[in-house]
């Protein structure tokens, strides 16, 4: 069980690069929230506010050719892995030009061909899929590949989580499972979700390596997640990371999250990882307040301009839909629907 060690910590360049991804993700999510409030986004808007440091660290350490199956609160990790402001907005706004072409929305997006898997809603379901992808790579003789996937504290209660992680362990796959322990599953506190003294205690039960990290500390996240990904890449088998942090928003934008414990918000676990990182940068004089302000403005401009552009894009035309769910159109069933 490793823990954040400053020694193997990120360099200034790495840290700042990761910080700017966090900043862009946060800025983009704030835009999503306002578009939702303005009634311009239909459906759920689930934000990763407070989880950017942990999430970014995952995408940050993955290579081209790796596999990443993010979950609900991984806007930052998605962008670190290569997702864009443009495709995010296209998907939320239902643009015909987005990767999901209006057929699916919000966080249910990806580009599987590029190793960027599109989550289904059923929690835990992506874990065995990533395991299978890694088995395929191994059967093909590919080495040095890593597959990473994220889940929350609540998702650990699913049968899919258990079966998927167990299979990965039996096959000793290079799978990195990042558990964002944000203290709640929707309104449900961890005390009603599991009874283990520590989520990390689950690692031994599967025979996988376990790591813990302060999810509010970008430096620690980059080190620990980086170390785990490296260990997986070098044949160390599945790696489980527990990142302790707090969901700094409601479950989704319709939820004010009134049920959240004020004590948690006030505790270290309730720190805003973006603010913590900003203070650290200033402290280390890795950048000036003005530089950071400029990055923020830059991010805001990219987001606003892209949103403007996407809102003018075509949305799917039901009359042009072929309504076919399979790729072999010759096998499409014909319903003489009235």
């Amino acid at each position: 069980m490793s823990s954040a060690s400053r020694s193997s910590g990120p360099t200034r360049t790495e840290y700042l690069k990761a910080f700017r991804v966090m900043l862009l993700a946060r800025t983009l999510e704030e835009k999503l929230a306002s578009l939702y409030r303005a009634g311009l986004i239909t459906g759920g808007v689930f934000l990763g506010r407070g989880q950017e440091a942990l999430s970014t660290s995952v995408g940050f350490h993955l290579h081209k050719g790796d596999i990443f199956a993010p979950l609900i609160r991984d806007q930052a990790g998605r962008m670190a892995f290569g997702d864009t402001v443009l495709d995010t907005l296209r998907t939320y706004l239902g643009s015909q030009l987005g990767s999901m072409r209006g057929r699916d929305g919000n966080i249910h997006r990806g580009r599987p061909r590029e190793g960027y898997y599109a989550m289904i809603s059923h929690l835990g379901a992506m874990i065995p899929v990533v395991a299978g992808a890694l088995m395929a790579r191994r059967m093909r003789g590919e080495t040095g590949v890593v597959g990473a996937t994220c889940i929350g504290d609540g998702g650990t209660s699913t049968g899919a989580f258990h079966e998927g992680l167990n299979v990965a362990a039996v096959e000793k796959l290079p799978l990195v499972l990042v558990i964002a322990n944000n203290q709640y599953a929707y309104s449900t506190p961890n005390t009603r979700q599991f009874a283990c003294a520590d989520l990390l205690d689950k690692a031994a039960g599967y025979g996988v390596a376990g790591h813990r990290v302060d999810g509010t500390d970008l430096g620690a996240c980059l080190s620990v997640v980086g170390g785990a990904i490296k260990a997986a890449r070098e044949g160390g088998g599945p790696q489980m990371i527990i990142g302790d942090l707090l969901r700094l928003v409601g479950h989704a934008e319709h939820d004010p999250g009134k049920y959240m414990d004020e004590k948690l918000k006030a505790a270290p676990v309730g720190r805003d990882c973006l603010q913590v990182a900003e203070e650290f940068i200033l402290e280390e004089t890795w950048a000036t307040a003005d530089e950071i302000a400029a990055w923020r403005t830059e991010a805001k401009e990219e987001v606003d301009e892209t949103a403007m552009k996407v809102r003018r894009e075509p949305t799917p035309d039901p009359n042009e839909e072929e309504w076919c769910a399979i790729s072999e159109t010759r096998l499409q069933d014909n319903f003489a629907d009235a």
Partner: protein, 320 residues
């Protein structure tokens, strides 16, 4: 005015008050009141009988079954019907077989927030009534009115067998009634939602209201369309359907579910086997499209049957 959702809450409040065997189990159903606020306020009044569950649909249903064996009357809330696939095994293989195998009944109610809403997408929009109706040993209810939301949920808990209660999310807040009912049709009986003479539209859930809108529109063409609300899809009230087809000679079955199999096929197959001679035209079905339920509101409203689609289908049925 009371909404469909409020009627469900009122039914559970009454059930908890009247019967100490009743308890509610599901994700976030406690102090939070559930994803759709259907259990709002109940945990405050009955903290020991309104319990938050982990994200474990299989265990949630299993727990309900065990409690039912021990004499309780559990009501399970699935956060969305779509997630009940993760609890399906306990429902269809444990709950549905218990009485036949052991003579011990399994009085559980599984509430399934069902059906499509704008922007909900492939995994928060499904209609699963047919999946469960296929299995022996289950009762499947699909309340379409505020009154039925209330009285059928109360009856579901009284029934000694497992009941899948498919409540429609689209109706939660839009559908309103003057007051709660004092009487109702028994489970297993369909309701003639609108009397007519030219054709029969058989429907259930949210589609009942689309069908009624269609019927209204067709009045302008001088047609009187009869609309039947199935209320329960297993068992299916074949007699009421046949009596209507006997009057109209024409049948259209409208369902929000996917086109292969399901309620529409079962209704048509029964009418053809038992009421073939009553039909003056080929019986027709109108279902959702054969794809996952799309996210974009424009795609979604073309994917599901709407009043205008029903009008078109009924017109061609009337011309047949």
């Amino acid at each position: 005015m009371i909404t469909y959702k409020e009627a469900l809450t009122a039914a559970m409040a009454k059930l908890l008050a009247d019967d100490p065997r009743v308890f509610i189990y599901g994700q976030d159903v406690g102090s939070f009141g559930g994803a759709f606020k259907v259990t709002e306020g109940l945990a405050a009044a009955y903290p020991d009988r309104v319990l938050d569950a982990p994200i474990s649909e299989d265990a949630i249903v299993g727990v309900a079954i065990g409690a039912a064996i021990e004499g309780m009357r559990p009501i399970v809330e699935m956060q969305f019907a779509d997630f009940s696939t993760c609890g399906l095994n306990q429902i269809v293989n444990q709950a549905a077989t218990l009485f036949y195998r052991t003579e011990v009944p399994c009085p559980i109610v599984v509430r399934l927030p069902s059906g499509g809403t704008a922007g909900a997408g492939p995994f928060h929009s499904q209609s699963m009534e047919a999946l469960y109706a296929t299995y022996p040993g289950l009762i499947v209810m699909t309340p379409a009115t505020v009154e039925d939301a209330y009285s059928m949920l109360i009856e579901a808990v009284a029934i000694d067998d497992p009941v899948l209660f498919c409540e429609h999310k689209l109706l939660y807040n839009h559908l309103k009634a003057e007051k709660l009912p004092t009487e109702s049709l028994p489970a297993g009986k369909a309701r003639v939602a609108r009397h007519g003479r030219d054709a029969t539209i058989v429907s259930y859930g949210a589609m009942v209201h689309e069908s009624l809108l269609a019927a209204k529109e067709l009045v302008e063409d001088g047609y009187e369309i009869e609309v039947i609300d199935l209320r329960t899809v297993k068992p299916l009230d074949t007699d009421t359907i046949l009596a209507s087809v006997a009057r109209t000679g024409r049948l259209l079955c409208v369902s929000e579910a996917w086109p292969w199999g399901g309620v529409a096929a079962e209704v048509v197959a029964r009418v053809c086997a038992e009421g073939f001679a009553l039909l003056d035209a080929p019986p027709q079905r109108l279902n959702a499209k054969d794809t996952p339920v799309p996210y974009h509101p424009d795609l979604w409203s073309a994917h599901r049957p709407t009043a205008s689609a029903i009008v078109t289908a009924t017109r061609s049925l009337l011309q047949a």
